[in-house]
Amino acid sequence: MKSIDAKLVVLGSQGVGKTSVVVRYVSNTFNGHLSPTIGASFFTCKMMVDNYRLRIQVWDTAGQERFRAMAPMYYRKSNAAILVYDITSLESFDDMKSWVQELQKNTDGDLAMCVFGNKCDLEDQREVDNNLALQFAASIGARHFQVSALSSEGLKLEKLI
């Protein structure tokens, strides 16, 4: 059996739930009182995919503007990026687009991208149209998932790469 090391970076605006998504995925728990990430947090998770032993190193970055300048340090060395937005905040969706531009400009296109619309349990407060999000994801060649760290919807046994 072969094993693969993969590096993943999670990007997005502040408060969209990047850490919650990662924590839900890695340890299947949810904490409603997580405090904002400072700098970046590092997680690892292991899984089997198609007979490969996969070890994923996850960089969960801080969304605050003052940490933006540090982001290249994390995405330059990554194989894949998860871009997270909050479906109840159009601003976070637009912000995510600027992340995509930055990634396209600064990486050689070998970075696999994937878009997460988090907080899909708050359907009644939705501001981001799902079709629009799907279109956008398709336009950058990324897959799109609607997820909820709270209810764990969309975060069970997801194949990220």
């Binding site: 405090s35 904002p36 400072i38 700098g39 970046a40 590092f42 997680f43 605050q64 940490f67």
Partner: protein, 569 residues
């Protein structure tokens, strides 16, 4: 009388260098933040005239009772009977509890009484502008487009609300152009006008080549700290002295630097004077909140000293060795292990020392953020006393499942996360193997030591600071100081005692103060500071005898309470 005092005075019993906790080789810089502040207050950059004006008025305003009995020759002060201060403390406690009894309408006083002078002076300086225009100009340089009179009314109403006014201490940060950045209580967006007034006061006084430092209005003090880019204001109804409040503002200012660095802050405001700094500080509010709350109950700030977790010295040496041997990484400056806001050990690069103020900010970073408990983190942090111009990169991780002890590895190299992560794992293995984590857990759970262990029945509580080590020790808070109210009152007494002894107009060496609830003895030498609290009926000679016993006891325990050596990589 004089002879009696010198007989009683224990000061010749202890030679300097042999006091409890004396450290010839401290890992912390032993310069006192409070002394730093005194030098700031007597800043010679000011013209002599300005200096006389400002410092003179401050000491007059803030210590009206002291000037009456001023005797420059006396270094030993004895106070029996009058309980002015204590009553004051009690009164303030009552005031803080009884909302309706709030004696001074603070925001209104600020707005009305001072606006008169502002109008006058502004009238002179800029004849075309009216105060009303000015305050809106200053307060809302950009974001005021949507602000109509309704909102302003609402804002005024908010400032007058009981809910907002009942807080004992407000702290504000605003930019030099008057933009709100932070308010301890309430939403700073609703305090735009108030901050505009503060900015106007500062700039009007500044125009006259003066520096606004303090305003007193009834029982309220408003203290201003003016820095290159920021204005910090504390408005308090408390026993704290003006220098103590100023020190707290200095901490808040340093917290801003710790998040942004001085160079970034200067660059931003150079590019755009009316930049909204909140954009860069989002998520950092909790650091300010936590810092201010801790400063209201932890004496480490006004003492300018660090508390160590009590541990057997052999155990502490093992921990330090485990860290020093397994973290031999180029450019690693400090390795710090802490638990429960107490220092376990600090290993440093040979030529660098840490200032207690910086260490307090590190404690604040760790205690204010839950996020470090979730995973290993890689965080930029600026330590203003170490280098205000740049970030250190901190690898932060908890050593145990219960998140008791937290290890920070601080480096200047931003690319060594994985190296440090490996170091951390090796360190953790060692700490488990030598049962260090168990010893730490035991000490944390024990919650320090009890006053009764000293064996002096009349002694209720004490703070002891070794000045050369910049460390302090104190017992657990037990009855009668086990309730939050009583603990606050005791904290106020310590602040009072500390302030009286360090008063710049009349510094003291020993102060014996008899109050209605307890007797206080403060004693400061070149080697240590001791603040002891006894029952109300203790005589002076009994208190001094007890203190001598106490010092012997601390000396005996010093290896456990203090870190006397200074391990390096």
């Amino acid at each position: 009388m004089a002879a009696e005092i010198s007989n009683d005075s224990p000061s010749d019993e202890i030679l300097q260098g042999s006091e409890p906790g004396a450290s010839r080789n401290s890992m912390l810089l032993a310069t006192d933040s409070y002394d730093d502040l005194a030098s700031y207050l007597s800043d010679t950059n000011l013209s002599s005239d300005r200096d006389r004006l400002s410092s003179g008025s401050i000491s007059e305003i803030t210590h009206p009772t002291e000037t009456e009995s001023f005797d420059p020759k006396s270094v030993i002060s004895e106070e029996v009977g009058p309980e002015v201060v204590e009553n004051e403390i009690n009164e303030q406690l009552e005031n803080s509890l009884d909302v309706s009894a709030s004696p001074v309408d603070e925001p209104a006083a600020l707005a009305t009484s001072d606006s008169d002078t502002v109008t006058e002076r502004i009238g002179l300086d800029t004849p075309t502008s009216q105060l009303s225009e000015l305050s809106t100009d200053h307060s809302q340089p950009e974001a005021c487009t949507g602000n109509n009179s309704d909102e302003q009314e609402e804002e005024v109403e908010y400032v007058h609300s009981q809910e907002w006014r009942q807080h004992r201490k407000h702290v504000f940060i605003l930019s030099q152009s008057g933009k709100p950045i932070y308010s301890r209580h309430g939403d700073e967006d609703r305090l735009v006008t108030l901050m505009g007034v503060m900015q106007a006061l500062v700039s009007v006084i500044g125009d006259g080549q003066d520096l606004l430092r303090c305003i007193t209005a009834g029982s309220h003090k408003m203290v201003f700290l003016i820095r290159e880019n920021l204005v910090l204001v504390a408005a308090a109804r408390s026993i704290e002295s003006m220098p103590q409040l100023l020190l707290q503002l200095t901490y808040v200012y340093n917290q801003v630097l710790s998040v942004l660095t001085l160079s970034q802050l200067s660059r931003i405001f150079k590019q755009r004077r009316n930049y909204d700094l909140r954009r860069l500080l989002t998520g950092a509010e909790k650091f300010f909140d936590n810092l201010l709350n801790t400063m209201d109950r932890d004496p480490c700030f006004f003492l300018g000293a660090v508390r160590c977790l009590p541990l057997e010295s052999s155990m502490r040496d093992t921990i330090a060795q485990s860290i020093a041997q397994n973290a031999k990484v180029k450019d690693l400056v400090f390795a710090i292990l802490i638990a429960d806001n107490q220092l376990i050990t600090l290993v440093r690069m040979k030529k660098y020392f840490l200032h207690p103020l910086d260490l307090h900010l590190i404690f604040n970073l760790v205690s204010a953020s839950e996020s470090f408990k979730a995973a290993e983190s890689w965080t930029p942090i600026c330590l203003p006393k170490f280098d205000s111009g740049g970030y250190l990169h901190a690898h932060i991780s908890y050593m145990d499942e219960e998140c008791r002890s937290c290890l920070l590895l601080l480096t200047v190299d931003r690319d060594v996360f994985f190296t440090l992560s490996e170091c951390k794992e090796k360190i953790r293995e060692r700490l488990v193997k030598y049962k260090c984590l168990a010893a730490i857990a035991e000490s944390v759970d024990q919650n320090g030591y009890k006053t009764s262990q000293v064996g002096i029945p009349e002694l209720r509580h004490f703070l002891y600071k070794s000045r050369s080590a910049a460390q302090f020790s104190c017992p657990e808070y037990e009855a009668p100081y086990h309730t939050a109210d009583q603990r606050d009152r005791l904290f106020g007494l310590y602040q009072f005692l500390h302030h009286r002894i360090h008063s710049s107009s009349r510094p003291l060496k020993i102060l014996f103060h008899v109050g209605s609830h307890e007797t206080l003895l403060g004693w400061v030498t070149s080697g240590f500071e001791l603040y002891a609290v006894f029952g109300p009926l203790v005589t002076k000679s009994a208190a001094i005898n007890s203190v001598n016993k106490l010092l012997k006891w601390i000396k005996k325990e010093e290896d456990r309470f203090f870190i006397l050596n200074s391990p390096t990589f």
